[in-house]
Amino acid sequence: MSDADYPRVDALVDELIAECPPGKTDDIEFWGAQYDKGLAWAWHPEGFGGLGLERRHQTRVNRRLEEAGASIENRYTNLLGIAMGAGVLDAHATDEQKRRWLRPMFTTEEIWCQLFSEPGAGSDVAGLATRAVRDGDEWVVNGQKVWTTLAHLAKWGMVVTRTDPNAPKHQGLTYFVIDMEAPGVEVRPLYQITGEAEFNEVFFNDVRIPDENRIDAVGAGWRVAVTTLMNERVAIGGSAIPRESGYIGQAVEVWRETGEDDLVLRDRLLELWAEAEAARLTALRANELASAGIPGPEGSTGKLAWANLNKEITAFTVELLGLDGTLYPGGYELRRPERIAQHEPHKAFLRTRANSIEGGTSEIMLNILGERVLGLPGEPRVDKDVPWVEVPRG
């Protein structure tokens, strides 16, 4: 249905390109105009960067804008905002809140970050301990978050806090948008085993949030958080990449460059190639079936598969390098990384160790596949219906 809308959308795109010629127009200005014409998130309501259409229209818009040479860099610069934050606001925020936050989010004038994980709450996000206590029209927040990308650049943070410690863990949570420039917010780089700091630790020390920045009801934080996590796991391992691209492509390159000809290593390379191609074809099939409205289990294995594969492939690539595998080009000076598509093999070997942890550990993904997809029973829960304060932690 609504292919009828294509002409209308195309017209708006033509209009945008005519009024703000890509290349000749400042990016922020262009994105602003794109938002105003409802071409930012086509499925959003009119007036909030959308046209009330379906998602596929946006895919079409993006393709046409790219063809016209317009920048879609904002989707990367403000990844968490545009890919996840917008969805959360669209689903849970008031019109006033949307009006306040969506446009500068899309133009990248305000960068967003996500504040869920805590040292004590990794897989068990709902076990988080960051407290928010009401004080008149404000909330006072204390606690620590971790694994926060972009926190050092962000204006706004999506934060889940515990507002009722005596309620069962999932019920005592409330979701806020926090001003990362507010007093009491401290952001520290979190260096990882590669020597780089993609992430941050964020400390809240009596940070005050106006109640108007609360998303959805008090105690509804988990519901909002789930919306966010859904978008995240779709983002990871969901899309279909070209054949022999990514780390398997790198492994093949190294194989060819080194002139390696050991049949044993060749068989291993081909084994990994086959696994990677199967994962790729699975994503391809899942996407096609999903867009045809036939969702199936093939959609849920990507994150898990790529976590394993990336780890195995990069470990193998380092082995392919032989003695050179013991080197670490560039060294370990602790620094902020530049955003790059693909690491060189040694750093890739280290970086991919986290693929089976970040965005849901492989153990959790296996539970999800087992319980939600295959319908296997859950384990006995000791933390379900007890007040959060009484749940053993450490």
């Binding site: 070209p242 054949r243 022999e244 691209s245 492509g249 093949v252 194989w255 060749r266 068989d267 390379l269 081909l270 084994e271 190639w273 086959a274 696994e275 191609e277 199967a278 994962a279 074809l281 699975t282 391809l284 099939r285 096609e288 079936l289 045809a292 036939i294 289990p297 093939e298 294995t301 898990l304 598969a305 153990e363 993904m365 296996l366 539970n367 596949l369 087992g370 319980e371 997809v373 295959l374 319908g375 296997l376 029973p377 859950g378 384990e379 006995p380």
Partner: protein, 376 residues
Amino acid sequence: MADPAISVPYAPTEEQDLIRSTARQFLAERIPIEKVRELMLSDEGFEAVLWKEMAELGWTGLVVPEEHGGAGLGWVEMSVLLEEMGRVVTPGPFLASAVMATAVIEELAGDEDKEELLAALASGESIATLAVFEQPRGWEIAAPATRATVSNGGWVLSGMKRAVLDAHLSDLLLVTAGADDGIGVYVVDAKGEDVTVEQESVLDPTRRQATVILDGAVSRSRLVSGDVVAGLTHALRLATAALASEQVGGAQRCMEMAVEYAKTRHQFGRPIGSYQSIKHRCANMLMKVEHARSAAYHAVRVTDDRAELAIAAPLAGALASEAYVWVAGENIQVHGGIGFTWEHDAHLYLKRAKASSLLLGSPRHQRDRLGLALGI
């Protein structure tokens, strides 16, 4: 590396859905697992009447062009049918005749032979099988030791072929042999003189095979149109893709058995599926099965693109073989002791899985073919 253009959609057509539902119903009614077990212990391993019924359903000529009396359908439809057969370890010469022999005839037969042979196979009146392997290892087909020589105007064959699928049920053998003018595929009457068919005792008693000894056996015709080795290779790739679909069907069923059991079987007061060791294994079954399925589906969708099939077929063969063997084995483990008993069906799948993984080339061998196709 450029991506292959896949024109055929993954979403099943109405026709494909119909083939699936018909197959599931027919197999459930006519060859339920009890019947499989009965046939498994019988000398022949199959019954002619079932072949007749499969023919009436149009299965024996599924990929045979309509002008030759077939259904004129494609390999995607074939994969749907084979997936269903794999689910219930259907016995009989279907893979041998309707897939492998048919593909070779399509590839290498001249118009006359096509006319005659395909019609016979499609109607179910004849069963044919491929006699190409001579060595236990390597799955070498290009240089048969079997010789074809001219004797009073016709071709006669001498040599030994092994792992000839369901030869004891077949009327026609398609035998590769070398003559002075090179390798050819020769059509031999399986029941004829100077042909000895020795049924072997096999790991998977639901798919029989024989050693065939040809001692001056007369060939009624030979199939040599085009590049014979290239044609045979392509036909075997089609067979590999088709077999992969059957393997995916079997693996899928093993996963379902394991999951069903894990939900109901209790130990220590809990369903065993609530333990991560079992739950995660089932989840890994799902991932392996879906990956194998993706490879198999891809292979049967690119059969018209010979270069891509050279990649897709061994890819599917390797992944489907490994997935099926692993899932069938883990299904026994999930079932525990009962899964190790003769009375439980789990072993039928393990045996089918292990044997199928060696039929057209071991996974390691398939990866070698994959590497050759990729230039790795």
